[in-house]
């Protein structure tokens, strides 16, 4: 699930862009230090591979819905964290441009959510300790499965945090969390199983690919990785918290969630209760008070339900409507005129 521009506020988007850009610089430097330019074409081609593999679907047994490979976790396992992170960053950049997944401002959040969690959190903290030296196929399988689930959970949580910090959506923290985490747990398990399966297949056919990436990425990076992690944790705390992963073309999961929500109208009533309970937390976490649930000055506690709508002067609104319609009409007319002009000129023989 890609974060979208329209749901973000500039400070939140900027903070995550800064974190993401710094990490891209760090990962590039790390790889260049290694003087291993053999990896450059490999990474590029694997980015294309992620695209291609995401377009191959499989049927999930017993449900009839379909799933596909995630990306970040399998790359981290096969390439090591730095290379995997850069590949994910480039994949998401191309997705933002060509598929309009998310948008340019949200790209920082998306790289953070889908790149940093699998590569710099789930890989060193979950996959590495569990997989050990990679000699036991069973441990390898469990490590790949659990790290994929963990990365996706972090990612989903991060989407919730970024949305709430931006204050554009009216959803409360608890309700949004309840919607996102369980569905992404289900998606995560499916993805984890597939990731583990592919890792095991690669191991059985070309074990040396797995070994080099494991030992090379882990040993020298071990100590500095901890520093990076501390840095990330601090950054996350400073920006107000953060976490997420993926779910690109997960229309299946999304539709499922929508169906679930719209099928049970009582859920929205419960959200009101949760919303009220979490209102205090939200006020404290709002970066831009203007965007959040701002308490009106002097308003009693009970009156919080009234939105912070600026006092309405009907005359102003009418002016706005008239002007807005005029501007839109003018813009479209100019666009149409340019097009028409082009056509007539193209129709005439060149002089």
């Amino acid at each position: 699930m890609h974060m979208a521009d329209a749901l973000l506020s500039p400070p939140v988007a900027g903070a995550f862009w800064a974190g993401t850009a710094a990490t891209i610089g760090y990962a590039s430097k790390k790889l260049m230090d290694g003087q291993d330019d053999r990896k450059i074409p490999l990474m590029g081609v694997l980015g294309a591979f992620i695209f291609a593999s995401q377009m191959i679907n499989f049927t999930i047994p017993g449900t009839g819905s379909s799933g596909h490979l995630g990306g970040g976790m399998i790359l981290a396992i096969l390439l090591g964290p730095h290379a995997a992170f850069l590949v994910m960053a480039s994949v998401l950049t191309v997705q933002a441009l060509f598929f309009a997944d998310g948008g340019l401002l949200a790209l920082g959040c998306n790289i953070w959510n889908l790149g940093i969690y699998p590569c710099y959190v789930a890989w060193p903290l979950v996959y590495k300790p569990l997989a050990g030296d990679g000699s036991s196929p069973r441990r390898l399988f469990a490590a790949a499965l659990l790290s994929a689930v963990a990365a996706l959970q972090l990612g989903a949580f991060s989407v919730v945090l970024q949305t709430l910090l931006s204050g554009i959506s009216e959803l409360s923290f608890g309700a949004f969390l309840l919607m996102m985490q369980p569905i992404h747990l289900a998606i995560g398990v499916v993805e984890g199983l597939v990731t583990a399966g592919v890792v095991q297949y690669v191991r059985s056919v070309r074990p040396e690919i797995l070994e080099t990436s494991g030992s090379k990425g882990a040993l020298p990076a071990g100590a500095s990785l901890r520093n990076v992690l501390v840095g990330f944790v601090l950054l996350a705390v400073v920006t107000g918290g953060a976490l997420s992963w993926f779910a690109s073309a997960y229309p299946d999961g999304l539709e499922w969630a929508i169906e679930k929500v719209t099928g049970k109208p009582e859920l929205s009533e419960r959200e009101h209760g949760v919303a009220a309970a979490l209102k205090k937390l939200q006020e404290r976490t709002a970066v831009l008070p203007d965007y959040g649930f701002r308490k009106q000055d002097g308003a009693p506690e009970g009156a919080e339900e009234t939105p912070s709508w600026p006092s309405v002067d009907a005359g102003t609104t009418v002016s706005g409507l008239v002007g807005g319609a005029l501007v839109l009409a003018a813009a479209l007319t100019v666009g149409w005129a340019i097009r028409a002009f082009r056509k007539t000129r193209a129709g005439r023989p060149e002089v």
Binding site: L7, F49, G335
Partner: protein
């Protein structure tokens, strides 16, 4: 099916970006910077703002018209990616019960206003991003990013990805077609076969990368993809960035629709 559609869409965007119009001739850096300014300005509006956002539509409309980009194609792509914003936004009308009067005598729930704001912002930002790639070749954007200070490694990474995107998508299409022809009903469409397909595709990709690396070494590769193209910012680029930047600033600071509306109503009476 989705695969073929995605493949043809990328191909179409790619072909559009090689047209030769005033917009296409601008330096990629100018277009990247102007688009980022646009997106930041649009997103910075508070959540109940709808009308003041409308003048921003001038920018994408002008770029599409001057760049000779088919509006219907862009609109279809914007619609295709809307589910997430719709999904999150549709709770605003349910959860924001306050009412506002938008016209004398007509009131509407405040949640609908903020939902409309999300939708307008969504269409504007996504449309701008798509127009950027439709008017600028991807290698051009990569060169622009490199000049703007992105790490060389990351930029070559993007260029490689783009170069092999079409190759690997075609390969995936062939694999899927072969699987579909061999799987009767749902047999063979499950995870077991999928894992082997993806695993095999991965190994083939790795082997391809090794061959590519060998070829590149033979041609003098030293870790960066060089560009022969000299790129200088011309006066047109400066004018484009300045004009669009000041237009965004004006629209951000002054509610243009309201001002025009007042003026028109003043004329009328």
């Amino acid at each position: 099916m989705a695969l073929e559609a995605a493949y043809s869409d990328i191909g179409r965007l790619d072909r559009l970006s090689y047209k030769d119009t005033a917009i296409h001739r601008l330096d990629p850096r100018a277009k990247v910077v102007a688009t980022m300014l646009f997106v930041v300005a649009v997103v910075s509006f508070p959540r109940y703002e709808v009308l003041s956002l409308l003048p921003f539509a001038v920018f994408p409309v002008l770029v599409a018209a001057l760049g000779d980009i088919p509006a219907g194609f862009i609109a279809k792509k914007v619609l295709a990616v809307s589910p997430f914003a719709l999904f999150v936004g549709m709770f605003n009308p349910l959860l924001d019960p306050g009412t506002v009067s938008i016209l004398p005598g007509a009131t509407v729930s405040a949640g609908w206003v903020s939902f409309a704001s999300i939708l307008v912002k969504f269409v504007l930002t996504i449309g701008a991003a798509l127009l950027l790639i439709a008017t600028t070749s991807f290698p051009g954007i990569c060169r622009g990013l490199r000049r703007l200070g992105f790490p060389a490694l990351f930029v070559s990474q993007l260029l490689f990805l783009y170069r092999y995107l079409f190759v690997l998508m075609e390969e995936a299409m062939r694999v899927v077609r072969a699987r579909d022809m061999r799987s009767f009903g749902s047999r063979g469409a499950g995870p077991r076969v999928y894992v082997r397909i993806v695993g095999a595709l991965f190994l083939r990709t790795v082997e391809r990368a090794e061959r590519i690396y060998g070829c590149m070494l033979a041609r003098g590769f030293r870790g960066e993809v060089p560009s022969m193209r000299e790129e200088k910012l011309g006066p047109a680029d400066g004018v484009f960035v300045l004009a669009s930047g000041s237009f965004f600033a004006l629209c951000r600071l002054v509610s243009v629709p309201e001002a025009i509306g007042r003026f028109v109503r003043g004329l009328a009476g």
